[in-house]
Symmetry: C2
Subunit: 552 residues, 2 copies
């Protein structure tokens, strides 16, 4: 892409956007504001720091990295930890010396983590004392030049067969003074890997620049202010924890890092600290709201960003009744992740709160995230008419342009900087995005698309059905046709299968056109699922790939 050069400005355009400037700012302007860390469920303590103290700690450990552990600009250091203050510190300390904090997802299978380690060759590892077993497994895959154990106990008391150094001991023995280093804003500061359902994880390396711009977007999208109180629910090994640690530091907000948590400890923090902003996936939010309801506690003004999958309207309604608000967002590891937020337009003023929630779906693209809907066959852009659905493509200063050292990059990125999200969606004329399926799961029948997710959700609303998965399988005439795989509730399993099929077809016809209905239903005891509970659609498709081939 050609870049036109105009006249130089007189502004300080060589000022580098640096992640550690966020903490420097918080320490100067919000020095007494608290950063709370709760390590009780990790076998540790509760901590109360101020931004001034955290900044001092970060400077000390940065000096240790640089001077004692020989971490150089560009080096990668992995982190295995829960959402506590030491993870938060690593978001700043390593970037401040030009190194990269690699967020290791402790929920991944050890073989996947092993792949990530071998692929990135981290110089060192930071590990929480509650996760030493995992570190022992990983250290068989790769020779770390150092392993720092992060603990509230002295390092001598740590039981492990690894050769470890104590994070706190190193921190204490190093000076809190260091010159503020200027790092090229295009250097990587942190890194995370995708946890896709198929294939090996793919690496995304965030730059100082992308993190700062994204933090500003998060602050804008959530209307953050210095008097907000935040709770970090999203795991810090997921895409920079959705950017909140950076955005809240930028604003000088009081923050609660709940460490390893349960729904109960999260609720405790929300109530004790009068939390005003948080974010999470619907599953955990449902657990939280249920407990708040049981306790009869109101949370007036609480704003919750919900992402990852579509939250049920009941969840939004439940929080509304407590005085709070659920705001849907959309994004991915590749997009830092913020792409869109369900912010109301004036046009929606007349709607009730719940109608507005339903109308706004996954939200409006936020400035900086360019969005288009593309026909995946022709690569032509489709209109925002609320009807044309296609693959969502994304581009912008906090959106990836490639994967880390990965030949699969070319499948997902265009030469002009667009990332093909793999999500199928539609944008309405007001600009609100609605996701309907994953591209690989959408069923392409005779030039028309059928959403497998819509069919599944509606099938599962039928009283007979325990679980249902719908996949597209090859068809000689239509290309693909839907097939439903259904597990019935025990009490209906003895029913005549032809009767049940008829019943389910009639049920689906209430909502879908005839041509959208599955051509057949297969009844199984159990639908194959992944470790995180998603249907193994690849496996289902492969098993039944020939079922319609006689139907020409």
């Amino acid at each position: 892409m050609e870049i036109v050069k105009g006249r130089p400005s007189t502004m300080n355009d060589s000022y580098q956007l640096n992640v550690h400037k966020l903490l420097e700012h918080a320490a100067r302007v919000h020095g007494d504001t608290e950063v709370i860390s709760d390590r009780r469920l990790q076998g540790g303590l509760r901590h109360r720091f101020t931004y001034r103290q955290v900044y001092e700690r970060v400077n000390r450990i940065a000096n240790a990295f640089e001077r004692e552990l020989n971490v150089a600009p560009g080096d990668i250091v992995g982190v295995l930890d829960w959402n506590d203050h030491r993870y938060y510190e690593s978001y700043f300390s390593l970037p401040s010396i030009g190194a990269v904090t690699l967020e290791l997802n402790i929920r991944l299978h050890p073989t996947e983590l092993g792949y990530i380690i071998k692929h990135t060759k981290p110089k060192g590892l930071l590990v929480d004392d509650s996760l030493l077993q995992l570190a022992e497994v990983l250290s068989k895959e790769h020779d770390f030049s150092f392993i720092l154990v992060m603990s509230d106990k002295p390092v001598e008391e740590i039981k492990t067969n690894l050769r470890v150094l104590g994070y706190e001991e190193l921190l204490r023995s190093n000076s809190p003074n260091r010159p503020s280093l200027t790092v090229d804003e295009r250097s990587a500061a942190t890194a995370a890997f995708t946890s896709g359902t198929t294939g090996l994880p793919k690496g995304v390396f965030y730059s100082h620049r992308s993190i700062i711009l994204h933090a500003m977007a998060v602050a804008i999208g959530n209307s953050l202010t210095p008097s907000d109180v935040g709770l970090q629910i999203v795991p810090m090994f997921h895409a920079n924890a959705w950017g909140t640690p950076f955005a809240s530091t930028m604003m000088g907000m009081k923050m609660i890092y709940p460490g390893r948590y349960t729904p109960d400890t999260l609720v405790e923090h929300i109530v004790t600290h009068k939390v005003t902003v948080t974010a999470g996936v619907p599953t955990i939010l449902l657990e939280i709201v249920r407990r708040l309801q049981q306790m009869g506690v109101k949370t007036p003004g609480l704003r919750i960003t919900s992402g990852g999958s579509e939250p049920p309207s009941a969840l939004a309604k439940a929080f509304m009744e407590l005085g709070g608000r659920v705001i849907q967002g959309y994004g991915a590891t590749e997009t830092s992740p913020l792409v869109s937020m369900a912010l109301p337009k004036a046009e929606l003023k007349e709607l009730s709160d719940i109608e507005r929630f339903e109308k706004m779906k996954q939200g409006l693209p936020i400035f900086g995230a360019e969005v288009k809907v593309v026909d995946p066959i022709t690569n032509q852009e489709l209109p925002w008419d609320g009807k044309s659905f296609g693959e969502i493509w994304l581009r912008g200063p906090w959106i990836a342009k490639e994967y880390y050292n990965d030949p699969r990059s070319s499948e997902r990125f265009t030469p002009d900087g667009w990332w093909r999200s793999g999500d199928v969606g539609v944008v309405d004329p007001l600009g609100y995005i609605r996701l309907v399926d994953r591209l690989k799961d959408v069923i392409k029948s005779g030039g028309e698309w059928i959403s497998s997710i819509d069919l599944e959700n509606f099938l599962m609303a039928h009283p007979y059905v325990r679980e249902a998965s719908v996949v597209g399988v090859p068809h000689p005439k239509w290309g693909e046709r839907p097939l439903a795989v259904v597990s019935l509730k025990p009490e209906y399993q003895s029913k005549d299968k032809e009767e049940v099929k008829k019943e389910l077809r009639e049920h689906l016809l209430k909502r879908f056109a005839k041509w959208q209905l599955p051509d057949d239903f297969i009844f199984v005891d159990e639908i194959p699922k992944t470790s995180v509970g998603k249907f193994r659609k690849e496996e289902i498709r492969s098993k039944y790939k020939d079922i319609y081939m006689g139907n020409g």
Copy 2:
């Protein structure tokens, strides 16, 4: 300054932050949202556009600039206009082709405007039809290759002896389609000149990058949302209109551009359009609130940023009673301008609204604007203790690093990127900035500083006093000592002057220490003032420079 390079990221770090991307975003995501322009007091019409329409108009006129008027990247084009939609369009059209929109302050003396024109040599001029006389004066100073007249009337009906082209005619005859050009984000997009009380104006050229980052900061500082409605009171020839045209476009807000206005038309817009956000100097805000009070109209939720000088508490109180809120900000042409905003910290929760307003003064530094208080003699940084006052120094990605082709740059900028603001202030331990004086007006007496402004304000609160100015004049023992120049109200002019002096001294002692009091009082009929009503302190100092020299 050395810049450390780390490992390259995988993000789209070469994506350029471009001003015209703001309007492209608004047109796509907020295409139906209105941009209203009121040219009635310019002898024109009221206009209602949508962002989609404005984007089309901007593309058409950009094509005209590029293809018909041969405006090339780096070219400068001046604008003489009021706050209407065509000024707004020029904020995008010229930058979108890599050119620079030069904001010409129509309130400056023609000799100062003449200097700016000769200093910047604009290729062309855009002029509102109500300002043709001024264009005629300026065109004697410089040979513009084109002059476009911006009018609601056909160009044939325009009476002028200049050779002009019609903006609307050119716009209509050019295509709305153009490729989105990528401009180096460090290129200048707009330019404005300072209107200091001493010396010739100094030029600041804003970059695409600085404008985008600043717009994000404005959106954060004001918690802007897409359902806000903005009114552009700050003149668009003042430092990018304080950035609101860019920030509101970023958010897709409905905006009212009131054209040439009076307090009455502003109030009309506030009431008719239910404006939720605006900004201005205290003088105009006082006029507005007085009218709203007279009309008995409430403005619930209206947020008003006040800048330029300190607003009286009565102003803040009056808006509070109407349901609104005045938020002080601090900045300058050199700082884009946003440096700080009076955002409340949790520590101020217990205060009443008005106490909080008074406590927050000029506000908290916002992320991106580095602030320090510096002893102007030793250049040592001073603590934020609420007591140490010194010159405010500023640095950041939207703060200038030099003036445009100006040898005076070295007096005001340090080699490491700090701008010496010339403002004397103090920062309290919570981070709130309080400005006390201009550095050149502060009185340096025996190592201690005395604020001339504080003395003046308190003197003018005395019933005898019509006007009072306090300056520092040379003193053989103390370096400088304060001298008060006072104009009494007619009814007190016949009083015995020694009695009056005694009375004023006693009045001042209620608030100031004895050593801070003026050594003498001079009574005059009229204090010399500039065209905008500021005291000519240089002239006063020079006139009385020897008055204390016998007091060794």
